[in-house]
């Protein structure tokens, strides 16, 4: 019995972004492709935009005012102990926030003064003050926030979500990352598919140069030339396949070339924002030096989710303000304030905010105190795993509320306290996924995003 190549039977997306034949993929063949899959339970959020504030933004200078800290300003003290790092040990002093806080929206949210635009959409936001992580080191904390595991090598949140739900656009990756010009500490491991099939790897759309590596041929190769080359390739591959008719992976590989060829034409169109109106560009702050970079990412995020991309993660930073927090955080807030407000408004206006989950946070928060560096005191803060800034908008979260609290100097969360794994479980829950059911067998056990299970933070859900 002679069978024709299986191209026709192959799921288009399977061939485009993944046709796993590895160990895990064999055991989970039915889950190895990115086709749309129903959620575990009815969900309000269908997609997610994760605004990743790399470096650790200070909760104390953004959304969590601490009048008590103002009273203690520059008061010195000493800290020691085997559970402290060199950074947090020794002689230290308290640092008040250089920013004023004003109530925002009908909900009366606490928002620091540099946020001019975000305060206008505060009623759409659910601020959360209870999250904690385990590491005060950037790469390990970034890995924990992005993958649930401090040590890297595990799948990113976006990989888990696309593994669970698939994606709605066969021509685009399901999980897109919009990194800064420089990659974060820990590098591309922050959007790795880990042990999940390669289909679910985050695809970075680079802010400069070729958006996807090798998307275009080197100079001098015309599209006609490439078509002709691919035709010869297909001819040679067909003869090879004719003698191996049962080999699905060979047929899939042939198809992947045709899809790559199609992608070359389609991707630039999706990411080209020139077609947007001047009004839109202005709203996102595109064209203004201070907001252009993140404005483009926010607009692109909206365009991508509109095209069916499941999970977009956009990076901004670096929020690691050990010194000069007024200057550094001031500039950083200005660089994201207008773009984020525009994104929330834009999603709302398109009636997409209701089913798009937007998350804003960094890998940890910052300390109320600082160390003596360079011989004197300065307005800055070190890393804090026990309290951090985080908010949610849309996707079934509790708009216009502030959940949880930190102590009176912002050193540690004290109310509605949850480990970051519970934030992950909640994120999955909002997207219709049950962390306990979204598992993958690897290295002897069924692994899950939360590592060993977690709790949905009900207070965040409307």
């Amino acid at each position: 019995m002679h069978r024709t190549p299986h191209i026709a039977q192959l799921n288009r997306r399977e061939a485009l972004f993944g046709f796993g034949t590895g160990l895990g993929a064999i055991a989970f063949a039915s889950l190895a492709d990115g086709a749309v899959r129903p959620p575990h339970h009815a969900a309000k959020a269908k997609r997610c935009i994760f605004l990743m504030m790399e470096g650790g933004p200070s909760h104390i200078d953004t959304f969590d005012p601490k009048p008590e800290l103002t009273k203690q300003h520059l008061k010195a003290f000493t800290r020691r102990g085997e559970m402290e790092s060199a950074m947090s040990s020794g002689k230290r002093y308290f640092v008040k926030s250089p920013f004023e806080f004003r109530k925002a929206g009908n909900c009366g949210a606490d928002v620091s003064s540099p946020w001019i635009h975000l305060r206008e959409v505060a009623d759409d936001i659910c601020f959360y003050r209870g999250a904690q992580v385990e590491s005060v080191n950037h790469p390990t904390a970034c890995y924990q926030l992005n993958t649930g595991n401090q040590f890297g090598g595990d799948p990113a949140v976006g990989s888990w979500v696309t593994y669970g739900l698939g994606t709605e656009n066969d021509n685009l990756p399901g999980f897109v990352v919009l990194p800064r010009t420089s990659y974060p500490q820990g590098g591309a491991g922050n959007w790795s598919n880990g042990f999940l099939p390669a289909t679910f790897q985050g695809t970075p759309l680079r802010p400069s140069g070729s958006p996807i590596l090798n998307l275009s041929p080197p100079a001098g190769i015309s599209r006609e030339r490439q078509r002709s080359d691919l035709d010869l390739l297909a001819e040679l591959n067909r003869q090879h396949l004719a003698a191996r008719p049962l080999r699905d992976e060979l047929a899939a590989r042939m198809e992947s070339y045709e899809l790559a060829y199609a992608m070359q034409a389609e991707v630039p169109g999706v990411i080209d924002i020139d077609g947007e109106s001047q009004k839109t560009l202005d709203a996102y702050g595109i064209g203004d030096t201070s907001t252009d970079a993140f404005g483009r990412k926010c607009l692109l995020a909206r365009r991508l989710v509109e095209k069916g991309v499941r999970f977009v993660q956009a990076y901004a930073g670096n929020w690691d303000s050990h010194d000069y927090i007024e200057k550094a955080h001031g500039a950083l807030i200005r660089s994201v304030d207008k773009p984020i407000a525009a994104l929330l408004r834009d999603l709302k206006q398109r009636d997409m905010l209701k089913d798009t989950l937007v998350i804003w946070c960094g890998e940890f928060g910052r300390t109320p105190d600082n160390g003596f560096r360079g011989g004197g005191q300065s307005y800055g803060r070190d890393h804090n795993a026990k309290a951090m800034a985080m908010w949610f908008a849309g996707g079934g979260t509790r708009a216009g509320h502030t959940v949880g609290a930190t102590d009176d100097i912002g050193a540690t969360a004290v109310e509605c306290v949850h480990h970051i794994r519970d934030v992950h479980v909640t994120l999955l829950h909002l997207l219709g996924l049950d962390d306990n059911r979204l598992t993958f067998y690897h290295a002897g056990r069924h692994k899950q995003l939360s590592q060993f299970g977690g709790t949905v933070i009900r207070e965040l859900i409307s």
């Binding site: 485009l16 790092s85 005060v136 950037h138 820990g186 992608m263 303000s321």
Partner: protein, 904 residues
């Protein structure tokens, strides 16, 4: 129907007991039996972790340690939690059916109870839910238990200690069997053919010579066969296939490329890298010497037991032997970093976890982390064993130890490396001096009681100063690449370190400074929460079930790792030989006889051919733990020689649906490294030199110039080696930077160097097609390939295409292939004749923009790249004529074909 099933089950137990030693006078009801044999073990495994194991943290107040707690129902259930005699309406049963919204138990889907397990609970409730006392339960289990008890060191709980295992799942711990093979039969085929015969499936016929020569050349050296190899092998194969395979296997294994290829397999397990990862991603300048030690070990066919001893305990055995010191690099291969932002005690704890788990996975196929916080869910490995194994390493300390270069170590390129580092550091120092002068001039006294940055400095200048200093530090570490040090360890006290940068020297007195770590179980895996003390040891089940010779593990200042090494390689250890022969098998066949080479536990599955596995393991030990002999045995089997296609596909699908019977040989895609090496090989550019300091190939320039954050700023640009011969070495020698993966290799499924990789994955994704049709690297190879064809003394164009096919595929083109390629070439040449090319410029400085931490503003700086001052590019289009460029287009297509990228 349901009752009926229940009766069969109870009868089965009674039937078994009748044949065993019955406990005279023990009167037991069916309900009691069900509880003791089924329900209680189920509660212990599935429920107690959250409902009783930690009395201080009982979920939902629902305590399942005793009947009273169960009946009380916790916070959520009332009397309906257990209605004696009515299982179907008891909540305890209903939660296990997962039909109770919000109370699906156990919570994790993967832990769900089977229907039979659910019915045990229901039927037990139907029988009145009797809950006999512990002693009675023990008596019942003793009399009627059908599972197997395993004696282990000591569990955290009695339930676990007394639990019983499905005997079939304990296969890995059993003593090695010595199945016999009839004289004259190849042992591999004897076992494989028996299973094929059992399902009446005829194996596929032998593969043809061309398939075999590619399969063996890649399989044993990772490189394609030369056209000469193909001719010689084909001739010999036609005369006597078995003799040809035997002889050529010896030849390939005698080539130094064998050690490179097999070394790479091992380095996947050891997760080799040249940098430390995390925030600084500092260079590990001497890691390459471990890599070359591994290559040498395979080339010399070092007995595997010796290979294990050296890696686990080389320094303790004899630290005057340089190979011993180099080998212990294995223990330090994982990502590791201690900075001022990390707590030393935790960093130390993380390494101990890492080394315990890695030694478990690599040598014993046990993922030890599974029992770090609780006794193993499925396997007879108590948490105590985890901390016993960890205690072996608690006196192990890092040191970069003096280790003179050995004669076989390749020291080429030392001068070039030092020159580059020197130039890079000098350029940075010059910039730093200029910047410091500028800053000094502009810096103003800050106003106010705390600094806010009103110091008159330009945005970015302060950040640049930090960046320059950090990169100077980083490059200075690279000077040690050419210095005689080994990434190694010693045995001594633990010295607290705040910030580790560069070489760690061996303290003169190893026990004088620091403290000796306390060996104890850490509750919940927490380094601050020490519980029961432990003494060094290993897997107690391997000793009790495997009937291992007893080996004393010393504590204190003695050589703990040496004892572990002896324990691992003891011929009576049931795991070690099975683990390595299974790995070697998987390197040939793409899958193990036991399907998870890093996990021989219950979840890893039972072996497809257990007798073959045992035969190979004992044969291997009998034959001096020789990997080369094992390879020879495997590749001379008929199973290895089979065609990848089967003449009767329906019979194959029907009788071997899981593809585990070896009726055909499993085809595979080349690995990332093989693909790159094969391209360099056919293009004639491959530098076959063996060993030496890492080389830096060209990698995608956008990625090379992509700024990446490290602590203190942006890391330097990636600079390739200036000379093509250094760049175009085997991929094994390419510097592996944890924070900067080569996108070509990553796209083709090269595993990340953070976790041990048991087997390569193969995915087919569109970015692979984009890489092979569009990337500069593949263009470069195609130009060189075409140039080679044009320069060789070949008669005409037809001969050139024929030669291209011979090099790429090991065969001549068919007539239609020849015609198509000639035509394509002609068209391409005509196009190329009308094009003019510019020489690509490679400036030696680049402008980069990153964000200044202290200002939140972008800043731009200039970076000097000394590698580009004398950079010799690979052959460019401008260097060759239009016919060569036209031929390069054909060559590029050949490099993209399935035939080039796959092995049959």
């Amino acid at each position: 129907m349901k009752t009926h099933l229940c009766c069969i089950m109870v009868l089965a137990i009674a039937g078994r007991a009748a044949t065993g030693q019955a406990d005279e006078g023990l009167q037991v009801s069916a309900g009691e039996k069900l509880f003791a044999l089924r329900v209680q073990p189920l509660l212990a495994e599935k429920c107690l972790p959250c409902h009783g194991a930690d009395p201080a943290a009982i979920e939902g107040g629902f305590d399942l340690r005793n009947r009273e707690g169960l009946v009380a129902g916790g916070d959520s259930f009332g009397e309906e939690v257990l209605i004696a005699g009515d299982g179907n309406n008891s909540k305890l049963y209903l939660t296990t059916t997962r039909r109770e919204e919000g109370y699906e138990m156990p919570p994790k889907e993967a832990d769900r109870l089977t229907q039979q397990q659910q019915w045990w609970i229901r039927d037990w409730i139907n029988a009145g839910a009797p809950w006999p006392g512990d002693q009675r339960v023990a008596r019942i289990q003793e009399a009627f238990g059908d599972g197997e008890r395993v004696s282990v060191s000591r569990a955290l709980s009695d339930e676990w200690q007394n639990r019983r295992y499905d005997p079939a799942k304990l296969w890995a711990y059993r003593p090695l069997a010595r199945p016999s093979v009839p004289a004259g039969r190849h042992p591999v085929d004897w076992f494989i053919d028996r299973q094929l015969a059992a399902v009446e499936l005829a194996p596929a016929p032998p593969a043809d010579a061309r398939t075999m020569v590619r399969r063996m050349s890649f399989g044993l050296t990772g490189l394609p066969p030369s056209p000469d190899d193909v001719v010689r092998f084909t001739d010999a194969y036609h005369v006597d296939p078995a003799a040809a395979i035997s002889e050529f296997a010896e030849q390939w294994m005698a080539s130094p490329h064998y050690g490179e290829h097999f070394g790479w397999h091992w380095l996947d397990v050891a997760r080799y890298a040249d940098t430390a990862g995390f925030a600084n991603d500092y260079s590990r300048p001497n890691a390459w010497r471990y890599r070359d030690y591994v290559v040498r070990a395979f080339n010399e066919d070092k007995p595997y037991n010796e290979f294990v001893r050296q890696q686990v305990a080389g320094d303790e055995i004899d630290d005057s032997d340089v190979e011993n010191l180099l080998a212990t690099g294995f223990l330090r291969m994982g990502p590791w970093e201690q900075t001022g932002m990390s707590v030393f005690k935790e960093t130390r704890g993380q390494w101990l976890d890492d080394v315990t788990d890695t030694v478990g996975q690599a040598f014993l196929a046990h993922s030890m982390l599974c029992c770090k916080c609780h006794d193993h869910k499925f396997d007879p490995v108590p948490t105590r064993d985890y901390y016993r194994l960890m205690a072996v390493f608690s006196t192990t300390q890092f040191a970069d130890r003096e280790a003179p270069f050995l004669e076989p170590e390749n020291r080429d390129g030392f001068a070039g490396s030092d020159t580059w580092v020197e130039a890079k550091v000098a350029a940075y120092l010059k910039q730093k001096k200029e910047l410091a002068a500028k800053i000094d001039k502009r810096r103003k006294q800050e106003i106010g009681n705390a600094r806010v940055g009103n110091n008159g400095l330009d945005p970015g200048d302060e950040a640049s100063l930090a960046r320059l200093s950090k990169n100077i530090t980083r490059h200075n570490l690279e000077r040690d690449r050419t210095q005689p040090f080994a990434l190694s360890v010693y045995t001594g006290s633990t010295i607290h370190r705040n910030n580790v940068v560069g070489r760690i020297t061996l303290p003169p007195a190893r026990w004088a400074k620091g403290t000796i770590d306390k060996d104890a179980i850490r509750s919940g895996g927490n380094v601050y929460s020490l519980a029961d003390p432990v003494t060094p040891g290993a897997l107690s089940a391997a000793e009790s079930l495997g009937g291992m010779r007893s080996i004393e593990f010393p504590g204190g200042k003695a050589s703990r790792r040496r004892a572990l090494a002896e324990w691992i390689v003891d011929p009576t250890n049931p795991l070690t030989a099975r683990v390595i022969v299974n790995r070697v098998w998987s390197w040939h066949f793409g899958k193990g006889i036991a399907s998870h080479p890093n996990n021989f536990g219950a979840t890893g599955g039972v072996p497809s051919h257990p007798e073959l596995l045992d035969f190979l393991a004992t044969w291997f030990v009998d034959n001096g733990w020789s990997i080369k002999k094992l390879n020879h045995l495997i590749v001379t089997s008929a199973a290895y020689r089979r065609d990848s296609r089967h003449p009767d596909r329906q019979a194959l699908a029907a009788n071997d649906p899981l593809g585990t019977l070896y009726a055909t040989f499993a085809p595979r895609r080349l690995t990332a490294e093989e693909l790159r090496d094969a391209m360099l090989s056919v293009s004639g550019e491959l530098n076959p030199a063996v060993g030496g300091i890492p080389c830096r190939p060209d990698l995608n320039r956008e990625v090379a110039f992509q700024p990446r954050q490290i602590m203190g700023g942006a890391a330097s640009v990636y600079e390739p080696d200036p000379q093509p011969a250094r760049r175009n070495r085997r991929t094994l020698y390419a510097e592996r930077i944890r924070g900067l993966r080569d996108p070509f290799l990553e796209t083709f499924n090269q595993p990340g160097p953070d976790k041990p990789c048991e087997l390569r994955e193969t995915s087919t994704v569109a970015p692979q097609a984009l890489t092979l049709i569009n990337s500069q690297e593949v263009f470069d190879r195609a130009i060189a390939f075409a140039d080679r064809l044009m320069r060789e003394p070949l008669a005409d164009d037809e001969a050139r295409i024929q030669r291209a096919f011979q090099l790429a595929f090991g065969r001549l083109p068919s007539q239609p292939e020849l015609t198509s390629c000639l035509q394509h070439w002609a068209t391409a040449t005509a196009e190329e004749a009308n094009k003019s090319y510019q020489r690509t410029e490679f400036p030696d400085r680049v402008s980069r923009t990153v964000m200044a931490e202290k200002t939140g503003q972008p800043y731009t700086f200039l970076e000097i790249m000394p590698a580009y001052t004398a950079y010799q590019p690979d052959l460019q289009p401008v260097d060759v004529d239009a016919p060569t460029r036209g031929l390069a287009i054909v060559c590029r297509v050949l490099l993209n074909t399935n035939e080039f990228c796959y092995l049959d």
